[in-house]
């Protein structure tokens, strides 16, 4: 509790004791009034002062003024206890609100507690803790095991395991060695690291993320704007209602029913109206819910840049994906190795078959061993053994076709279908989507044939093919299925890749629409046509890796960039940033958003319903001031507690 809150608490306790005491002291008339005035002034002096200041400043219709009028009115009408109690409960409510909000603010901020407190630097052989803001670019900092990395940089000494869970929500430790880039906010788990900083603190990943999350509540959602507009009319409206209630019914009774005007009763009912005039429960619970939702999302590695985006996520109707890097890994990998039929069938047992395949891969990798093409790299990686380049000679690259070389003294051709055609080699075409590398070799020398009988120009024979393709991300299919379950009506994939590859990936993942062979500009046009197709209420999400698709990210209703850890461009361009590159997080983000919005609507409806009920019961004289203030404070307590539920996310 802050000092301010403690002071209010003391006033509440003091006033409660005095109120109870006043109730039991048998004094009547003016003495009794004084007895009640003491606790009233203790608890309400600041409200009275604010009300007075409000009148001076021309701000008549604020809740302080209304509370003052209601309670003073009650006291004037002789309901001393009621007047004091209303003020007392109002203050209890305010105290609870300020305490609960402070507490939840702390809770949520703790979720996002990635700010490093210090950086270690070496000074005259001693390790000194310094403010990260004072570290310059290029300085060497030390990070001990268990500490947070305070600034982005490159490891110059040491190796360790690094935990990124504070940023991504995923606790998969990563190995880091000398020369690796490391990102601030990660935790160094095992070894001592010396890091040369590459960015100042203000430019480091951790500062960028904190900035983004802290500013997210500045971008207000539609529901927030609605409530703040509503709040502005609500209070004056209730006041007018109260005035009408105080004047009209008694006049009606007097003039038309020839009955007693009964001004006192109606005035008292009007005062009850005023008690319910503060819109606080509504005004507090909605930003609190959104803040909680944003906090919960960021704990999962989903950074939502504004309440408006969190709100929009719940209305997601169309989800448009970029292919490479979003649904697929974006790296080429050997997917399948196929050895020529008769060779494969010759060896029956599985081990021998794998050996034959491994041999084919090895030949291809050797032939391509001097190339830096991504395809060659993936062949070498798939080989998994260190290649002896001495086995290769006479390499000849045929641009756009492939290579021919001598491997272990045998002539070999490795390349695409065009190369096979060019060399006049009969081959079985591979129908799988992806890049296909065909391999043809000179047959092994048959010892049965006399050397003199050997053909002078040895014939190359087709040996098999290797399929290289971009791999679909683990969980991509599941991600799309769960998006559909959560009510997304259309899932679309856009890619610059060729049709066969796009169709294959698209059908594997169960996407509704596939557009292939698109140039970057075409993607924007596609998104625009999809935007015009969808209904007004649905929102279009575009998911990309944030590198080449900034124009599309901004054009979509919600742009989601994934794999953003360490990529400033992606963080800048997107509305929602996924720190890791798991596509399943999109459905999770929608779930968090839906839950948040559900709570927001519950609070709006509940608070308005209770207030309306109180107004009706108050007008009819069934509810008195006690009940009104109870209802008012109660609604707020429940709304705040309900808003706190946004923090809990079930997996």
């Amino acid at each position: 509790m802050t000092r301010k809150q403690k002071k209010v608490l003391i006033r509440i306790i003091l006033s409660t004791v005095l109120l109870i005491a006043a109730h039991f002291i048998p004094v009547t008339g003016i003495g009794s009034l004084f007895l009640y005035l003491v606790p009233y002034l203790i608890i309400g002096y600041d409200i009275l002062k604010k009300a007075l200041l409000g009148i001076i400043h021309g701000e008549v219709f604020d809740e302080n003024f209304l509370m003052a009028v209601a309670t003073v009115g009650a006291i004037v009408l002789g309901e001393y206890a009621e007047g004091v109690a209303v003020m007392l409960f109002y203050q209890i409510g305010e105290l609870f609100q300020s305490y609960a909000v402070g507490k939840s603010r702390k809770n949520i901020s703790a979720l996002m507690d990635i700010r490093p407190d210090y950086a270690n630097i070496e000074k005259d052989g001693e390790i000194v803790q310094t403010d990260p803001e004072e570290i310059n670019i290029g300085e060497i900092i030390l990070v001990k095991p268990g500490e947070k990395i305070p600034l982005d940089g490159v490891i110059v000494e040491g190796s360790s395991t690094i935990n990124t869970s504070a940023l991504t929500g995923e606790s998969i430790p990563k190995d880091a060695q000398t020369g690796d880039h490391v990102i601030s906010g990660c935790v160094n788990m095992t070894g001592l690291l010396k890091i040369q900083t590459t960015k100042a603190f203000g430019e480091s990943t951790v500062s960028k993320i904190l900035d983004l999350v802290e500013n997210s509540s500045m971008k207000k959602s539609r529901s927030e704007n609605f409530i703040s507009k509503f709040a502005r009319v609500y209070t004056p409206a209730v006041c007018i209602g109260a005035a009408a209630l105080a004047i009209l019914p008694p006049l009606f009774q007097l003039l038309f029913l020839q009955a007693d005007a009964d001004f006192g009763t109606w005035l008292f009912r009007a005062l009850t109206f005023l008690v319910i005039s503060c819109p606080c429960a509504l005004v507090i619970s909605i930003p609190l819910s959104f803040f909680g939702g944003i906090g919960a999302a960021s704990r999962c590695g989903i950074l939502v840049k504004g309440s408006n985006y969190l709100e929009a996520l719940s209305e997601a109707g169309y989800v448009v994906f970029d292919k490479t890097g979003t649904l697929t890994e974006g790296v080429f990998q050997v997917k399948q190795v196929c050895v020529k039929e008769d060779k494969a069938s010759a060896v029956q047992d599985v081990q021998a078959q794998t050996d034959v395949k491994q041999h084919l891969l090895e030949i291809a990798a050797l032939a391509e061993s001097y190339s830096s093409h991504p395809i060659s790299r993936s062949l070498r990686e798939a080989c998994a053994i260190s290649l002896d380049k001495a086995r290769v000679c006479d390499i000849e690259e045929i641009s756009g076709h492939g290579v021919t070389a001598q491997i272990d003294g045998r002539r070999t051709a490795v390349g695409n279908a065009k190369l096979m055609d060019k060399l006049g080699i009969a081959f079985e075409a591979c129908k799988e989507p992806g890049t296909v590398v065909y391999v043809a070799t000179e047959p092994a020398a048959d010892p049965a044939i006399e050397p003199s009988m050997k053909p002078t120009a040895p014939q190359l024979r087709y040996a098999g093919w290797i399929l290289i393709a971009d791999v679909v991300k683990e969980g991509a299919a599941e991600a799309i299925a769960s998006l559909k379950r959560s009510g997304v009506t259309k899932s679309v994939m856009l890619t610059g890749d060729n049709k066969t590859v796009a169709e294959a990936v698209g059908t594997e993942l169960g996407l509704d629409e596939i557009h292939s062979e698109l140039l970057p500009g075409d993607k924007v046009a596609r998104v625009e046509s999809l935007l015009s197709q969808k209904s007004e209420k649905q929102k279009l999400i575009f998911v990309g890796d944030g590198i080449n698709d900034a124009p599309v990210l901004t054009r979509a209703d919600i742009g989601i960039a994934m794999g953003a850890l360490g990529s400033d461009a992606a963080i800048e361009a997107a509305d929602v940033v996924l720190m890791d590159d798991d596509p399943r997080k999109i459905a999770l983000a929608i779930r968090i958003s839906r839950k948040c919005l559900r709570i927001v609507y519950q609070n709006i409806v509940f608070a308005l319903a209770v207030k309306a009920l109180c107004l009706i019961l108050g007008a009819l004289g069934i509810a008195n001031m006690w009940m009104a203030i109870f209802a008012d404070v109660g609604v707020m307590v429940i709304a705040v507690l309900n808003a706190m539920r946004t923090l809990r996310i079930e997996n």
Binding site: H57, Q97, R105, N215, A231, R232, I284, P287, F291
Partner: protein
């Protein structure tokens, strides 16, 4: 020119009122108050003296919520 200031305000409705008051102040192009993070973001009109404008903003906010605080 945009700047963010730390504020202290106890109730959400008051924060709302501060936002309205700040928006109306001369020299302020736009203002947003976040009750949750207790921050006020002001974007100033071109060529104004920020400090002088902020003094006016504080005065306007004190009018609607006497208890509020802005760290200028």
């Amino acid at each position: 020119m945009e700047k963010t200031y730390k504020i202290e305000v106890d109730c959400a409705n008051c924060a709302q009122k501060m936002e309205v008051a700040a928006k109306k102040t001369d020299g302020v192009a736009d203002a947003t108050v976040s009750f949750m993070t207790q921050k006020m973001k002001i974007s100033f009109e071109d060529g104004v003296d920020e400090k002088a404008v902020m003094k006016k903003v504080l005065k306007a906010c004190r009018k609607v919520e006497p208890d509020c605080e802005i760290e200028i």
